[in-house]
């Protein structure tokens, strides 16, 4: 399908569903059913089975027409991580049940992966799921759950077999966050606010029909999610001098009194690195125009974290006295944000929030292991727990 074909489809759709007279939710559902939601998805699942490269064009055409959007920032985990995983591993019934309300923003998603005892070693997680009739009973504690307080559903990895080595005893579920056994508690961060949560799961009941993939296949399914996450964090398409670079370059221009040759060269180094990262992302997207993200996404995320942290640190230096004041919005007051925004609030917030970039979605250290082992083919780390039943691993 050519860009012209897609353009024609969007125009026909807009003629049939005038923006001015169509109720926003009805518009979004109709757009989904017309295959103009995520065009790379198959027909019948909100897409047309065409190249991912056509998506920006479709979004631009709808934006230009003033069409309502699905508020993608509120549902980043749903759109960026849950959806591609459900598409890849879901049954026809699961795809039919979950994808449309997810894309339309009717149901917001969060991610129940990490635990207090399972961070980088995600496969060591301890939350248990036990089959009881045709339902799974889940008990355990999850942590670093962005947006759990707004979520309707979660992608969840739990241990279904403690008697086999850790990677083999995991299963992936779609968990209803409104289940009475789900308790969400805010987790306050170094920014002062609580974007994350701790989530306690007590006798949560999940129908077997909401298991994604086979029993014991959870590690494979979770990796599909994580690869998508790394691309979502590190690989977003943007214009030149977009993203954090744009924010900091503007700081430079706004603060001529603070300009020195040393700061200028540091900013230009980061300008070059940001631009190179942007081009690397563009090239990766050209490579991925069809197909799933692989371990190369880890390299993108490594660069993103490094550059973002350096830029936000430099931004404070460029602002002189302003860099010492955290006065924007609520300051240190504990608040519950609606969505994650790395570029939001003021420079102090951005500096502190960026510290998470090299931790969330895989620490930079783990990502370097992934690149070294899966891209370069270097030997794996020594794993003492590899062939040991999970329950026999010391913890």
């Amino acid at each position: 399908m050519t860009p012209e074909d897609i353009k024609r489809r969007v125009e026909e759709f807009l003629a049939e569903h005038p923006v001015a007279t169509t109720e926003p939710s009805a518009f979004l559902h109709a757009r989904y059913r017309a295959g103009l939601a995520w065009v790379a998805f198959p027909e019948g699942e909100g897409g047309l089975g065409v190249s991912r490269a056509l998506q920006p064009l479709v979004n631009d055409l709808f934006d230009a027409a003033g069409a309502p959007d699905n508020n993608p920032r509120r549902n980043g985990i749903g759109l960026g991580m849950a959806a591609p995983t459900i598409l890849a591993y879901g049954t026809p019934e699961q795809k039919a049940r979950f994808l449309e309300p997810l894309w339309c923003g009717d149901e917001i998603w969060c991610q129940l992966f990490s635990e207090p005892g399972a961070g980088s070693d995600l496969a060591g997680l301890a939350t248990r799921a036990v089959l009881d009739g045709d339902e799974w009973v889940v008990n355990g504690q999850k942590v670093w759950t962005s947006g759990a307080h707004n979520a309707d559903f979660a992608i969840l990895v739990a241990r279904t077999d403690p008697d086999v080595p850790k990677h083999r005893g995991l299963t992936y579920f779609l968990c209803d966050m409104h289940d009475p056994g789900v308790e969400v508690r805010p987790l306050r961060q170094i920014t002062g606010e609580a974007e994350f949560n701790e989530v306690f799961l007590t006798d949560v009941r999940i129908p077997d029909a909401h298991r994604l993939g086979a029993v014991g296949q959870g590690w494979e399914v979770a990796n599909a999610t994580l690869n998508n996450e790394r691309v979502a964090i590190g690989g977003a398409a943007m214009p030149r001098e977009g993203g954090m670079l744009g924010v900091v370059a503007e700081s430079w221009r706004q603060h001529p009194d603070q300009q020195t040759p040393e700061l200028r060269d540091r900013l230009l180094k980061l300008w070059v690195e940001s631009e190179v990262a942007r081009l690397t992302g563009a090239r990766l997207r050209q490579k991925l125009a069809v197909g799933q993200p692989g371990p190369e996404g880890s390299a993108m995320k490594l660069t993103f974290a490094k550059v973002n942290q350096q830029l936000t640190g430099l931004d404070l230096e460029l602002r002189g006295e302003e860099g010492l004041r955290y006065e924007d919005g609520e300051g240190w007051t504990m608040v519950r944000p609606e969505h994650v925004d790395f570029g939001g609030r003021d420079a102090v917030y951005r500096y502190l929030r960026a510290k998470g970039n090299s931790i969330e979605g895989g620490t930079s250290e783990i990502l370097r292991n992934i690149v070294a082992e899966r891209v370069l083919g270097l030997p794996g780390e020594h794993r003492v727990d590899k062939d040991v039943a999970w329950k026999a691993i010391p913890r």
Partner: protein, 362 residues
């Protein structure tokens, strides 16, 4: 077309071209032959250049068909340069088929057009007479003079000389046999420098004064833009060779490449090499599209990034090979010398950043 839409991957034709150049170099450009240049035996260069320019017909990539060239673009030249960099091939492709050719393309006179046809066919080889590091047009006065540290002069039969005239800079072509060309013992003997003494009056005008300054500027821009691809090729060789070595080298009873301290260094190097590949291809693509300001921005980005990248990659290769990396026998030193010389030749990374800053209001 916006900057982001430049095709950053090899298409089918690029892949064919790459395979052709790679197999040619694998056969004819053995590191054991290349290293002889450092011991005074430069005999590989003419043989190799005859093959690349003549047999493979690559000298005319940038020359339009109307001048007898292949009518390809900087994108294809970038593919060739990546492969030449990967083999540290001692050929004047960059100096003749890119820099000198781009100077002439700005507006050749009749004699200039003849020269372009000769360059495209591989029968002639030219070099722009500028001292390295070359970052801006430095026209000569029309009197006999010496220019130090010129790249490509030793391989050239024709020297392109920018000359200051009352009407502007004109470019004259002086036959190499009418100049005194003294080889220099160079940091990088695979792109050996020479000191050149000549009288510009001995040459005929190949680019008239109205286009000469533009020609020199676009020649140097193309040189910096496409050298980034050569630097990526150098870095790719260093990364691949080092990874391969660390997969077999054992110490303390284990494969050295399994140590996390080394894995993480190589993961970082891989990440940088991928970035350099995208930046260099983008610069070549922007040059091919012909928007001067876009091409300048893309070139400064690629030159600033890839100049340091190749040096880092070569230094890592030497260090991570341990003692063997310090030997004459191992080819790593050929790449280190090329990388360090390349980093300086068309402007240091800091200079490219400074010029970038002027263009992007920083």
């Amino acid at each position: 077309m916006s900057a982001a839409e430049v095709e950053l991957l090899d298409n089918e034709l690029d892949a064919d071209l790459r395979a052709t150049v790679r197999s040619f170099l694998a056969e004819r450009c053995d590191p054991a032959e290349v290293v002889k240049a450092y011991d005074g035996d430069g005999s590989l260069t003419p043989v190799l250049w005859k093959g690349i320019a003549g047999e493979l017909g690559l000298a005319g990539l940038l020359v339009p068909e109307s001048y007898g060239g292949a009518g390809a673009s900087a994108r294809e030249a970038a593919v060739v340069l990546e492969e030449l960099g990967r083999s540290v091939a001692p050929v004047p492709f960059l100096t003749s088929a890119v820099v000198a050719t781009s100077v002439l393309l700005a507006g050749p006179t009749e004699a200039g057009a003849d020269l372009l046809a000769g360059l495209a066919s591989g029968e002639r080889t030219a070099a722009l007479v500028v001292p390295l590091p070359a970052t801006a047009a430095q026209p000569l006065e029309p009197v006999e003079t010496e220019v130090r540290s010129v790249a490509g002069a030793l391989e050239a039969d024709t020297l392109l000389v920018p000359v200051a005239t009352p009407d502007g800079v004109e470019v004259r072509a002086v036959p190499a046999d009418q100049a005194q060309i003294t080889p220099v013992s160079s940091l990088d003997m695979t792109r050996r420098l020479a000191d050149v003494r000549l009288d510009p009056a001995a040459g005929e005008v190949v680019v008239a004064a109205e286009h000469g300054a533009d020609g020199v500027r676009s020649g140097l821009l193309a040189g910096a833009a496409l050298m980034a691809s050569e630097q990526v090729g150098v870095a790719q060789w260093c990364l691949t060779t080092t990874v391969d070595y660390l997969k077999v080298r054992r110490q303390f009873g284990r494969i050295v490449g399994g140590y996390q301290a080394l894995k993480h260094r190589l993961a970082d190097l891989y990440t940088s090499v991928e970035g350099g590949g995208a930046a260099a291809r983008h610069a070549a693509g922007a040059l091919a599209l012909g928007d001067v300001e876009e091409a300048e921005i893309a070139t400064h980005v690629a030159a600033a990034y890839c100049g340091d990248l190749a040096v880092t990659a070569a230094e890592e290769a030497v260090q991570l090979h341990g003692g063997i990396g310090m030997t004459w026998e191992h080819p790593a030193h050929l790449y280190l010398k090329r990388a360090k010389a390349d980093q300086i030749a068309y402007g240091l990374p800091g200079l490219h950043r400074d010029r970038l800053g002027t263009l992007v209001d920083i």
